[in-house]
Symmetry: C2
Subunit: 438 residues, 2 copies
Amino acid sequence: MLVNITHARVEADEAAERAEELLPYIQSLKEVAEVADFEAPEASINLPSDLALREVVLALHLEVERPNLKYIFLIGIGGSNLGVKAIYDALFGYADSIKNVHAPKIIFVDTNSTLLLRSTLELIDSSIENIDEFLTITISKSGGTTETIANTEIILEALVRKFGEGVYERTVGITGEGSEYEKELKTKGIRTLHIPKQVGGRYSVFSAVGLFPLLLAHIDIDELLSGALNMRNLCLDETFSENIALQSAISIFLSNKNGKTINTNFIFHPELESLGKWYRQLMAESVGKREDEKGNSICAGITPEVSIGSTDLHSMAQLYLGGPNDKITTFINTAGDQDSIIVNKERIINNIIPELGGRTNKDIMDSIYEGVKAAYSKGGRPFIEVLLEDISPYEIGAFMQFKMMEMMYLGRLFNVNPFNQPSVENYKTETKKILSEK
Amino acid sequence: MLVNITHARVEADEAAERAEELLPYIQSLKEVAEVADFEAPEASINLPSDLALREVVLALHLEVERPNLKYIFLIGIGGSNLGVKAIYDALFGYADSIKNVHAPKIIFVDTNSTLLLRSTLELIDSSIENIDEFLTITISKSGGTTETIANTEIILEALVRKFGEGVYERTVGITGEGSEYEKELKTKGIRTLHIPKQVGGRYSVFSAVGLFPLLLAHIDIDELLSGALNMRNLCLDETFSENIALQSAISIFLSNKNGKTINTNFIFHPELESLGKWYRQLMAESVGKREDEKGNSICAGITPEVSIGSTDLHSMAQLYLGGPNDKITTFINTAGDQDSIIVNKERIINNIIPELGGRTNKDIMDSIYEGVKAAYSKGGRPFIEVLLEDISPYEIGAFMQFKMMEMMYLGRLFNVNPFNQPSVENYKTETKKILSEK
């Protein structure tokens, strides 16, 4: 993975100064990595090397895996499903939406949408014949997530009605150790995996939350973790020119000080849209804070958005190039592409853009991509470039770890706690009041 | 459809003043509607009542419709596919991504993505047996859209290789009348439909661009157009309290003057995400302008974003409630829901959020929705509320017309041309240079 910040339009000496300020924090992160336990708020950086976790997940996988497994009902929302969805969609889900052949297919049951639930219930009714063809995974760290609890009731009820109480053996809970939810699940004989106390949802993709469903979907979690671990080590480097998480965090931070209130993640692969949505949560919840670490009111935050290249050039480029200069863009693309398709030199439709003949679709996409970067440069619009080798578990694991460490550095730069989400309680309190009064 | 701006936090007298200023523009829009031709830049408002258009589309539909039609390859990008995708996904596409039963299925071939193209080619290879099972629609108003031309070559080449030149009779082009593209298509015997000259891509959903593919996908275009026409008439009303497009435009405009640089479209139905993406283009291209109508440099614009409720409450709510107060939010929800599902009173997992027992999923979603609105109000975060009756062609048609007219009023308020997109040329010029030099 390559990261290039030369077009971020930040002052080199200001960046160096900020990097210097972060040295003690890098030191403390290194200590967290050395201890390799799960006590510090940054504990998630120890997940990729946690062999005990890997063993537990593999063991349960062995118990519930079936050759004829067709559907995984993944019931979870926010940090409990965005990471899995990011990886699954990149590798299988997007292609599957066109040709629908991959098995097992993960059905993401996140919100309490009628259409989502009705469609899932119809699928259970019409497309599942026996108990080995599905597995239900219900994920809630606190065990008190309204949507997840309601959806778990609705899905389990339908499955039990059709297949009997054996369904509980085809169900796995992932939750905080000793939570009320775990206790209740256990009364039905439902097996559970744990999320370490210090690992919050948006940093949990390399815990059981991510690994268990991904393994069931035939994704190489060793490659994923290996990419993450190598990236973690790189992003603990004290040298600014080596540490890409530090480079990206400082570029985004200084851009924000300079009026860039939006971070556009412009991804030139449609199958990575869910990866962008995972990053939306990571950035929005980590940096969007009413108060700083000392309790001063600051209302800090950068609004992350996702655009897909080249699709959204045809919807957003006019604003990006002509509108307010209020964005720091992160372009995300891949280097190679062995699978690209050539436009014949002998064209079917002649005389229209003749230079397309003999080009591959990747050539064309790359020309568009280079054209966009040139237009940004000429227009004084700042950007960071992230180039993945390819779209593989290794590179995606590396990318996610890179972004999670970028966020820890960003939290420190903004002087906010990147691991909590206190304002979320505001609407949850209101919702509970309404629910109990109804 | 109900629109409520009482929480938009704009001054009533300022709003009234702006509404007064727009009266002459409403008058001129009324004249456009009375003439009912396609000469004015606002000509798109005459599409819903254009009976001649309806006849042409129905006639071609009759010619190419087949009982065993399985796949529609819709090749187009931006304004050439976002409207169709918005409606198709709302009514069929989202549910289909879970249970995959609707036919014909529209495959949206927009960008030159390798995975998208490979998946589509595999589908052609493995899942189509004869020429009646597919129809290809290629859409480009100018006829010079790089991605669309390249994808049309690649898809047609694969189809012709498998099925021979009869494929051209299973292909329809939608383009500007007399364009080079039309001429080239005609040399192969490919039939065409036209986009009126004055109707730009983002306002074209009620032209052949939208109607023809939607009709093939079994969507009731008469209901769609009827919703649009009734809404158009409502949004030509000079009375501020009646004209919801005017209310919404003025609320967004005054919010923007007051530092709200982002318009969050927070939609409480996942199947409407593509409708949100359609609106992204509409707003980004219409208002994001470097220059005003007199050529003064202004870099105006509001960044539209889409969030899905309740899903994105678990990723974005922390930022929305705790971060910078820089957004005007449009909540979009539906009133009723006849299909909702009850959580049994006899719970499987007892003791966890006991108040869920006996509630329907819609009750729960509504409580969350009300909770969010209460938290926004308490936190001083402005919002507009749009409540659809249901998710039907009529209501979606009405919503899209409402938003297109909102955009015309917004253009006038910002003093920009909401029908052009000059800055898009910046990257296209660079791309062409790179493509021809490669």
